[in-house]
Assembly symmetry: C2
Homo-oligomer: 187 residues x 2
């Protein structure tokens, strides 16, 4: 199962067997059931998660108790409440399984050990962080420049496999539109 | 002037004089006048910029020719069309000076040399990238959960000094509202 992580890292930096053996020691495996929470608001966030299989939603609940989808994560994606993870503060987001899910877990201590112990891994995390930033910037530009129909079409084009697995009501929440609006868009 | 860069980096990683001397060789200085473009759409993006003094706007122009503010940058901020910079593709954003501006410039080649030559600098860029991602995520959550009045108030609270220097019309563009709406909000 760690083999998936190796393939994922090697898309960015090549690894020797020894290097990957070292990396593997910094991850543990966990399994969660559909509807189970991996993080709940107020939790201490212990892990950054690499998704081996399954599907997750990262959710912000507003003051009125309405949930908003911040992001989805599926195979080969990293997910957590990263603000809480990096600053070691309480979670303000929740992370819930939309399918049975298997993840590799890395603590902040192990993240730092990996960065300090193997420059290649720091490089890998730097690339992921840079492209994570660019993905968010793209979403902001999409908000600024596109109407909800265009944003829905961009999403389908960008993540066709994700769209098949995520219920329509959650796609509406991710796009910030009502379910009725989305039904009209996707008709 | 490089001293500002040193102070900025040392907020994250301490440096010896020799290390900073090495870092300095990877930057050049440039000055731009108010209204001057540092990047125009279609340009090859040669540099990541660290702002010594001045104020910039990063702009996406939509198909209808309407400009949208993606972000602002002022003293101690880094800015570029980072997608174009990292992928060495043509700029899809423009970067324009709102004030006379002085920057330190780093090419992608020098960025990579810094990362490979000094693990501390890779660590520094990793921290900046992680918190850049979190800043964008915060803005997305703000879009999903807040109305334009709340977003305006969050912006003033988060960047009071920026708000004093940026014309109202540009703040409206950043928030994705009309100038008339903003006038109502800020009355």
């Amino acid at each position: 199962m760690h083999e998936k992580l190796r393939q994922h890292i090697e898309k960015i930096v090549p690894l020797t067997d020894d290097e990957f053996a070292f990396i593997s020691t910094h991850f543990t495996t966990k399994k969660f059931k559909k509807h189970q929470f991996m993080i709940q608001e107020g939790d201490t966030v212990r892990y950054s998660y690499f998704v081996i299989s399954g599907l997750l939603k990262l959710v912000h609940t507003d003051k009125g108790g309405k949930p908003h989808i911040v992001s989805f994560a599926m195979e080969d994606w990293w997910e957590s409440d990263y603000y809480a993870f990096f600053t070691q503060t309480e979670a303000t987001l929740s992370l819930e399984c939309l399918e049975d899910t298997e993840v590799l877990c890395c603590t902040l201590e192990d993240y730092n050990k990996l960065c300090n112990g193997l420059q290649k891994m720091q490089r890998f995390f730097l690339e992921k962080a840079n492209f994570g930033f660019l993905g968010s910037q793209r979403r902001i530009i999409s908000w600024l420049t596109s109407n909800s129909k265009e944003r829905y079409e961009q999403l389908i084009k960008q993540y066709p496999s994700l769209m098949q697995r995520v219920p329509k009501s959650l796609i509406a929440s991710y796009l910030g539109v009502s379910r009725e609006t989305l039904s009209r868009l996707s008709a």
